[in-house]
């Protein structure tokens, strides 16, 4: 294998892994933009989404790529309930209360899932497992291409939703100026529910794609991706979608470079070294807005 091939391959894997983070980080950013809260338990929605997909797949045997929509719909519902009964009552009472609430949610979701689905590792076999496509000098599993395609489609769909629909425009208005939105008659609480639900649906999509690509999963699977997604949106600047994408790519490259040069143990630490350096220079992240 020539060096160029290796390089291309590493970029390709970075993109594939990045898809999961982009979906998670976009969901977190969507929620933050509208509600100005961050849900530390976001990874648990990824996990629930993955389990819902897996359960439907085990029962019906439908192509797991088709179940992604069902799983997203289910998570919109779960997300709406969590927003209405957990986050709304504490809205505006301080960031530490949000962390506290998230810890409670993490306990409930992780252990609730362990009760329902047991704590054993499980896996889902994609119907396209074993099929690879030649892609220049490399051969790429079809699943990875499908995952990138689905991620791109979901992000484009979200973009159109935000730009073209009334609710989407109301969401953008609320995220720009909450009080102004209330003044012009937007029901911001309804917008909160919708944004939170959509954010959770993106996590469910991430969870589904994660397991379909051959990753094995258990109830604790969500913690690490969520922390990374969270570090990425902090790095990119809270609420900034381009920041999340550039932050995700930067971390992906840094992590793999560190694992290669310093040893695997540095993979997580290096993300935070970069995060700290960036924040020392720019306290609101790469693309974060100055201000309060």
């Amino acid at each position: 294998m020539d060096n160029l091939g290796v390089f291309l391959q590493i970029i390709f894997w970075g993109l594939y892994a990045g898809c999961i983070y982009i979906l998670l980080a976009t969901g977190l950013n969507l929620i933050f933009g509208v509600m100005k809260i961050v849900n530390f338990a976001h990874g648990e929605f990824l996990m629930i989404g993955a389990y819902i997909t897996a359960t439907i797949f085990f029962i019906s045997g439908i192509n797991p790529y088709l179940i992604i929509l069902l799983s997203m719909l289910a998570l919109i519902g779960i997300g709406a309930v969590i927003e209405r009964f957990c986050f709304r009552p504490i809205l505006g009472t301080g960031k530490l209360n949000e962390i506290f609430l998230s810890i409670g949610l993490i306990y409930i979701f992780q252990n609730g899932a362990a009760i329902i689905w047991t704590d054993e590792w499980q896996s889902v076999k994609s119907p396209y497992d074993g099929i690879s496509l030649p892609f220049g000098s490399l051969s790429v599993p079809l699943d990875y291409i499908l995952i990138m395609f689905f991620t791109a489609a979901i992000i484009c769909g979200l973009y159109l939703f935000l730009k073209k629909t009334t609710i989407g425009m109301q969401m953008r208005a609320t995220s720009q100026n909450r009080k102004g939105a209330m003044l012009v008659g937007i029901d911001v609480e309804r917008i909160d529910v919708i944004s939170f639900g959509l954010g959770c649906a993106l996590a469910a999509a991430a969870g589904t794609l994660w397991i379909v690509s051959g990753q094995i999963f258990n109830p604790y699977m969500g913690s690490i991706p969520a922390i990374k997604a969270f570090a990425i949106i902090i790095l990119g600047g809270l609420g900034s979608i381009p920041g999340a994408i550039i932050g995700g790519l930067l971390m992906g490259l840094a992590e793999n470079g560190a694992a290669f040069l310093l040893g695997g143990i540095w993979k997580d630490a290096i993300s935070f070294v970069i995060l700290i350096i960036v924040l020392v220079v720019r306290p609101t992240g790469l693309f974060g807005e100055k201000g309060d």
Binding site: M1, V6, Q9, I10, W13, A17, N111, A114, T118, D119, E120, W121, Q122, S123, K125, D129, G130, S132, S139, P141, G214, Q215, I216, N218, Y220, I224, N256, A259, F260, G263, G264, I265, K267, D268
Partner: protein, 442 residues
């Protein structure tokens, strides 16, 4: 809002009340009850290691049931004592382990302890064991440090599961004696050709323990094995492509993985499917569980697992029957199958019963003496000389480990193992798969 305050208050009161009430049953039975041997089982029932911990606790229950249904343990005065198990959940944390051990020892006043999974967790309560001098049969922690520590008295601690030193040594010997000649034969290379081994290990006490065991075995045995790449990853990692790329660049003849099952299966899948690393992967024994075969699918073909208890294979003879009986009673009761930490915990209960029987009493000094002098027939796993006994220096059991190779079964869509080493246990020979690519110097 106002009702809610009352609601919260009442919840707290109820919780405290439950706490108060339920504390009672645990201490209800006086510690001097005749005819009962109290065995404390320390297991991770919650937290990240909960699946292993649950397996250990359930296996202990199967063992206790079997002993009790056969009449229990005969003591010196001729009375029959039943085994009563009390579980302590270490929550997969050090504080949890310390609380669980203290509770079992001082509140429940157990006669003997069995269990213990993570070495980090186990080390947090070893001083309590030393202090109260309770015989403790460790059946899950794989680090040799458990009984090699010198800062405290470990003389009451007995280690009944292979350590990282053992796995590393066995697997390296297997590579030297079996894999190396096969590769040379395939290449038509002289016997003097050094074998190119790569390692990918979890950066924890477990992974590093295996790594240093491999290095030590090669150095002390002056083996003709060259470690061409040693890569590591953080526990819980799911993307192994970068270290695998580095390993592929080193052109290895085989790759030894010191990984947990949830890591081992993705490593091999990513290596074969994404990196195109078509080589032999050697795995540590804890990977030998049903889920590993399921997750691996076709990619497991040709891989090696060092093992002592497998869901799909058993060495011929009496051990096979005993293992099947254990698997069946476990399945009948819990609907799943035990794994090897469960198997050694099952034996741990039998060892505890045997030592108590030999001592004729639950007196801890006497039971410890009997554990030191233990010489009982193997229970379900193959032991060295077919007997369970602890080494005089560090009180460790010696298992008869074996190597199994996986072959693909298209109707199942999974691989199944066959024992290929050592000679007295093997049912078939080790073969290099047709797609195998040997390494070469770059």
């Amino acid at each position: 809002m106002k009702y809610s305050v009352l609601f919260i208050a009442s919840i707290l009161i109820v919780a405290v009340f439950i706490a108060g009430c339920t504390q009672q049953p645990a201490t209800q039975q006086p510690s001097t009850t005749q005819g009962v041997i109290k065995v404390g089982v320390i297991a991770s029932l919650t937290g990240p290691a909960s699946n292993v911990g649950t397996n250990m606790w359930q296996s202990a229950q199967v063992a206790a049931d079997k002993i009790n249904s056969e009449g229990g343990v005969t003591l010196k005065d001729g009375s029959k004592a039943q085994i009563r198990l009390i579980v302590g959940d270490d929550e997969s944390t050090q504080q949890g382990g310390q609380k669980a051990a203290t509770k079992l020892i001082t509140d429940d006043k157990v006669d003997i302890l069995v269990g213990g999974y993570s070495s980090a967790v186990t080390s947090s309560y070893q001083q309590t064991i030393a202090e109260y001098k309770i015989p403790y049969i460790v059946t899950g922690a794989s680090s040799p440090i458990i009984t090699h520590r010198t800062d405290i008295d470990t003389s009451y601690i007995f280690h009944h599961c292979p350590t990282t030193d053992t796995y590393g040594q066995y697997t390296t010997m297997f590579i030297d004696q079996v894999v190396r000649p096969e590769v040379n034969k395939k290449l038509g290379a002289p016997a003097a050709r050094p074998f190119r081994l790569a390692m990918l290990y979890q950066d924890t006490a477990f992974g590093k323990g295996v790594q240093s065991a491999v290095n030590n075995t090669i150095t002390t045995g002056k083996l003709n094995i060259q470690l061409v790449s040693q890569q590591s990853y953080r526990m819980g990692e799911s993307d192994f492509r970068t270290p695998l790329t580095a390993i592929k660049a080193a052109n290895p003849d085989a790759v030894y993985l010191a990984a947990f099952p949830n890591e081992g299966a993705p490593i091999i899948t990513q290596a074969r499917r994404d990196i195109g690393l078509n080589t032999i992967f050697l795995n540590v024994e804890n990977n030998d569980n049903a889920q590993f075969y399921k997750d691996l699918g076709q990619y497991g073909e040709g891989a090696i697992i060092e093992s002592r208890f497998s869901p799909y294979v058993a060495p011929v003879g009496a051990v096979a029957d005993a293992q099947n009986e254990f698997k069946q009673s476990y399945f009948a009761r819990f609907g799943t199958f035990p794994d090897m930490m469960g198997a050694s915990t099952y034996e741990g209960i039998f060892i505890a019963a045997q030592a108590t029987k030999n001592a004729g009493t639950t007196d801890k000094v006497a039971v410890r003496q009997e554990l030191i002098a233990l010489n009982m027939p193997q229970v379900i796993e193959a032991m060295k000389d077919q007997t369970c006994s602890f080494s005089p220096d560090f009180r460790e059991s010696t298992f008869d480990l074996w190597m199994e190779q996986l072959s693909y079964n298209a109707t199942l869509g999974e691989t199944r193992p066959l024992i290929v080493w050592p000679d007295n246990l093997k049912t078939t020979d080790f073969v290099l798969p047709s797609w195998y690519v040997a390494g070469s110097s770059p």
